[in-house]
């Protein structure tokens, strides 16, 4: 019934897909962290005129499915005449989506940094922005690391959704194999195994980083 020997000829295709999945995860993950910090800072310290609407927009992101957001971005940009490759649409969509979640984490991490830290920095003569940059944000990053890491692991799995937009990552490459062999179970099973391994690797790396961060705090 099942015949896993159909897979080896497609090992390269799957491996390439896995590499693209990793690349998307890294790019979208980086975007989600950088943008997340920026959003946290703007909503914490920016003018109300900007921060309040941003909070509202954040709810729009949190209250609707990622897939719908990706569709809106992909087809919506096309409607506006902006033709972005599916790959970049996907990276952007994923990155922004998780930035919204990371912003919440960074916001409370920043707020949890002891007030004395800002005072000590200011007493040395650091300006507010410099103090945020050198002392508050690095510490908040350590605090936020486990949760942001967790989001990155969820993001890894959500990269699969980009296959729907036609991004040639792991799932889409598997589908290419399937259309040649009509062996969906074997291919999706292999895909699941690969994701599981990537997931384990990421958990391991983030766990190490979190333990290091914990040792400092």
């Amino acid at each position: 019934m099942l015949d896993f020997s159909v897979l080896p000829p497609y090992a390269d295709l799957l491996a390439t897909g896995a590499l693209w999945t990793v690349l998307i995860t890294v790019l979208a993950g980086a975007l989600s962290v950088v943008l997340g910090v920026l959003l946290a800072l703007v909503t914490l310290y920016g003018p109300k005129l900007i921060s309040l609407p941003l909070r509202g927009i954040a709810f729009l992101f949190m209250g609707t499915p990622l897939l719908l957001q990706l569709y809106l971005l992909y087809y919506g940009l096309a409607q506006l005449g902006v033709l972005l490759p599916a790959f970049w649409t996907g990276v952007m969509g994923l990155g922004v989506h998780y930035a919204v979640y990371n912003a919440d984490i960074f916001r409370s991490a920043i707020q949890s940094v002891d007030e004395g830290q800002m005072e000590a920095a200011r007493s040395l003569g650091f300006g507010r922005t410099a103090a945020l940059r050198h002392f508050i944000i690095p510490q908040a990053t350590l605090t936020a690391l486990p949760q942001v890491g967790n989001n990155s692991i969820i993001l890894l799995k959500d990269t699969a959704v980009l296959s729907v937009l036609g991004v040639a990552e792991l799932v889409l490459n598997a589908q290419r194999g399937i259309s040649a062999t009509y062996r969906p179970f074997e291919f999706y099973f292999a895909v699941a195994v690969l994701y599981y391994l990537l997931n384990l690797a990421m958990e391991w790396a983030l766990g190490r980083a979190a333990r290091k961060a914990e040792a400092i705090r």
Binding site: M1, L2, F59, L60, G63, T64, P65, L66, L67, L68, Y71, L72, Y75, G76, A78, Q79, K157, D158, T159, A160, V161, S163, V164, V171, I178, R183, P184, F185, E186, Y188, F189, V191, A192, Y195, Y196, N199, L200
Partner: protein, 220 residues
């Protein structure tokens, strides 16, 4: 912004939203059952059950929901498992969210101070009675929170069922986009429908929480 279009498709969006809610409800029922079973296994005295529960949770949480859906719906027939898109969606998403919920529920249980357990056992209560009479009532508020969070995640996740052909909100929206070429209006309408559903869930959970909150005030 084509308002007339939104008005025209509104009834269809509404119908699709009902489908989304049905799918979420069916998945939730399966998910709750799976979660309870997983927590029970996790707290079993037999290592084999604990191991199986942990392995299941690890595999489910370690692989994408989309791949799980494809594996069951497209791969299932190879194993003689012929499910309708709705069945495949509800079962897969239920078994998926059940793993996540079990982690939250177990967390809520072990967050109850161990002294409570010891006190009850020292009075002569059995394991089950201790759980039922003393631990679960105290864990309830946290459990409710984790169930609420996961129900929201589940409901948003139902959009993925569109990829296996369940005619829910996202699927319908996509079809309207192909026929109207107005992605912004159509997806915005679908988005609003999701927001309303999610808000309703959040309000419902908050209502339940305030119910339990009153119970909690009696705590020492």
């Amino acid at each position: 912004m084509d308002v007339a279009l939104i008005q025209r498709i509104a009834p269809f969006i509404l119908e699709a939203a009902l489908k989304t809610m049905q799918l979420a409800a069916a998945s939730l029922a399966i998910g709750l059952a799976a979660a309870v079973a997983l927590v029970a296994a996790r707290m079993s005295r037999q290592a084999i059950w604990r191991g199986l529960s942990a392995a299941y949770v690890s595999v489910i949480r370690g692989t994408p929901l989309l791949v799980q859906l494809f594996l069951v719906f497209f791969g299932g027939p190879q194993l003689g498992l012929n499910l309708t898109p709705f069945q495949a969606g509800a079962i897969t998403m239920g078994l998926n969210i059940g793993a996540y919920m079990s982690v939250g529920l177990h967390g809520a249980i072990i967050a109850v101070e161990h002294g409570q357990y010891e006190a009850a056992r020292s009075l002569g209560f059995g394991r089950l009675d201790t759980m039922r009479l003393f631990i679960l009532p105290q864990a309830a508020p946290l459990m409710l929170r984790t169930l609420g969070v996961n129900t929201v995640i589940l409901t948003k996740g139902t959009a993925l069922a569109s990829t296996i052909g369940v005619v829910e909100l996202t699927y319908s929206a996509q079809r309207f986009v192909t026929s109207t070429y107005k992605p912004f209006e159509v997806f915005a309408a679908a988005g609003i429908a999701y927001l309303i559903i999610i808000l309703a869930i959040m309000l419902g959970i908050r209502g339940l929480e305030s119910l339990f909150g009153t119970a909690e005030r009696g705590r020492v």
